[in-house]
C-alpha cells in the first residue's frame, strides 16, 4: 500500500517535468475546431487515428468508381474545418503552422501533397478566366 502511494507521489511529481521536457522540444499542435457545434464524421479518437486511411479509401472510390455523396470527402473536411479567420485549413505560415490540417502534421513531420491540387480554402471560386490566350485557336 505504502509502496503504491510512494510510486503515485513520484509519478505526480515527475509528470510536470515530463511535460516541461516535451514543451522544450516542440510546442503541442494547436487544434482549433472551426465549427464546434457540429459533428465530425467519426469520434475524434477514431479521426485522429484513421483519417488518412478513410481519405485514401474514398479517394479511390470517388475517382475510379465515380462514387458521389459518400460520408468521407476531402472537400467536406475543408468546408467544416477551415479556420474562421483565414478561411483555409492551411495557415500559410512557415514556422509553427496552425491551420487545422497542418498543425498535427507539422508536429508529426508529415508532409501532404494533397494541396498541390486540392483547394485548402472553403467555398473558393476561381476568378473568371483570363481572356482566351494565343494558341487556343491554331
Amino acid at each position: 500500500m505504502s509502496r503504491a502511494l510512494t510510486f503515485l507521489a513520484a509519478l505526480t511529481l515527475a509528470l510536470p517535468l515530463f511535460n516541461a521536457a516535451a514543451a522544450g522540444e516542440a510546442a503541442k499542435p494547436a487544434i482549433v475546431i472551426a465549427n464546434p457545434g457540429t459533428q465530425c464524421i467519426a469520434p475524434p479518437e477514431e479521426m485522429r487515428r484513421d483519417h488518412m486511411e478513410m481519405l485514401k479509401h474514398q479517394r479511390n472510390r470517388t475517382m475510379r468508381l465515380g462514387e458521389r455523396g459518400a460520408k468521407v470527402s476531402l472537400n467536406a473536411c475543408v468546408d467544416c474545418h477551415a479556420s474562421k479567420t483565414t478561411g483555409s485549413v492551411l495557415s500559410g505560415k512557415q514556422s509553427n503552422p496552425d491551420g487545422f490540417c497542418e498543425a498535427c502534421h507539422a508536429f508529426a513531420a508529415v508532409k501532404l501533397d494533397c494541396w498541390d491540387c486540392h483547394q485548402p480554402k472553403a467555398g473558393y471560386k476561381a476568378a473568371e478566366a483570363t481572356p482566351a490566350p494565343e494558341g487556343s485557336k491554331p
Partner: protein, 245 residues
C-alpha cells in the same frame, strides 16, 4: 432440411445485429454496423451508360470560343503561365479548310473518350483509366507525369501542368506535375448536369448524352444523321462524334 437451417440462420443474424448494437466498446470498430446505420445515399458510375457527344459542325461558328471559355471557367483553367505554349487546353477550337473549295468548318476538339484509349494502353502506372461509363480520366493521385499518354493521344487532347497552382475550384482539383484532359465535366455529369461546354454553346451545336440509351436525344440523332469519328481508321471507337465534316 432447408427450413430449419434457414431459421437457424435467421436467428444467428438477429443475434449478430443485437450484439453489434450492444457491445460497441471503445476501440472496437464495427464498420458494418456503423455504415448500415447512417450510410449516406451514394451513386456509382454504371457500365450500362456510355457517355458520348455529337458535335454539329454546321452550327459551330469559327469566331466563337464559348465552349473553351466555359470549360476554363468550370475547371478553373485560369492560371497565368510563363510560356503560353504550356497552357492547359482541355478543349480547343480548330478551323478546317477544304483546300479546293475553300469551304470552312470550325469544331471543338477535346478528349474523344475512346472505347479503346491508347493513353490507357501506354500508362505505366494505371493512372490513365476508363471509368465504367466510358469516361477516360487521369487518376492524378497516381499519375507520375511521364507524359506517355500525351504522345499516344492522336487528338493532342492532353495537357501537362508545368507550374504550381493555387486557383483550383474545389470540385476540380488540378496540380503541378500531372497530366490532365477533358473529363466531360465529371463533377457535373455525376450530379445530373451537362458538361459546361455543351451548356454554354450559343448555337446548341453540342449534344451530350448516353449512347446506350435508345431514348436519349443523342442516340436518336445518331440514328438519323451521318456522323464521323475523327481518325476512324484507328478503330478507337470514340465517344465524341462530329456531324457535317
Amino acid at each position: 432440411m432447408n427450413a430449419p437451417d434457414n431459421k437457424r440462420r435467421a436467428l444467428l443474424a438477429t443475434a449478430g445485429v443485437g450484439a453489434a448494437g450492444l457491445v460497441v466498446a471503445p476501440g472496437i470498430r464495427l464498420i458494418e454496423a456503423a455504415t448500415a446505420a447512417d450510410a449516406p445515399k451514394t451513386t456509382l458510375a454504371s457500365s450500362k451508360v456510355r457517355w458520348g457527344m455529337l458535335v454539329d459542325t454546321t452550327k459551330c461558328k469559327s469566331d466563337c470560343n464559348a465552349c473553351v471559355t466555359a470549360c476554363n471557367k468550370e475547371n478553373s483553367i485560369v492560371e497565368e503561365v510563363a510560356d503560353p505554349r504550356q497552357r492547359s487546353q482541355w478543349v480547343r477550337k480548330i478551323d478546317l479548310v477544304e483546300q479546293r473549295t475553300g469551304k470552312q468548318h470550325s469544331l471543338p476538339m477535346m478528349c474523344q473518350h475512346c472505347t479503346n484509349p491508347p493513353c490507357v494502353d501506354v500508362c505505366p502506372t494505371g493512372a490513365s483509366f476508363k471509368r465504367a461509363d466510358g469516361l477516360v480520366l487521369v487518376d492524378r493521385h497516381i499519375c507520375i507525369g511521364c507524359r506517355y499518354c500525351m504522345m499516344a493521344c492522336p487528338y493532342k487532347a492532353r495537357s501537362f501542368v508545368h507550374e504550381p497552382l493555387t486557383t483550383q475550384n474545389p470540385e476540380m482539383p488540378r496540380g503541378v506535375g500531372c497530366v490532365e484532359s477533358c473529363t466531360f465535366c465529371v463533377q457535373r455529369i455525376d450530379r445530373g448536369l451537362q458538361p459546361a461546354c455543351t451548356e454554354a454553346c450559343p448555337e446548341g451545336a453540342m449534344l451530350f448524352g448516353d449512347l446506350n440509351d435508345d431514348n436519349s436525344a443523342i442516340a436518336k440523332r445518331l440514328k438519323e444523321v451521318a456522323s464521323t469519328q475523327v481518325r476512324a481508321e484507328l478503330k478507337l471507337d470514340t465517344g465524341v462524334r462530329y456531324q457535317g465534316i
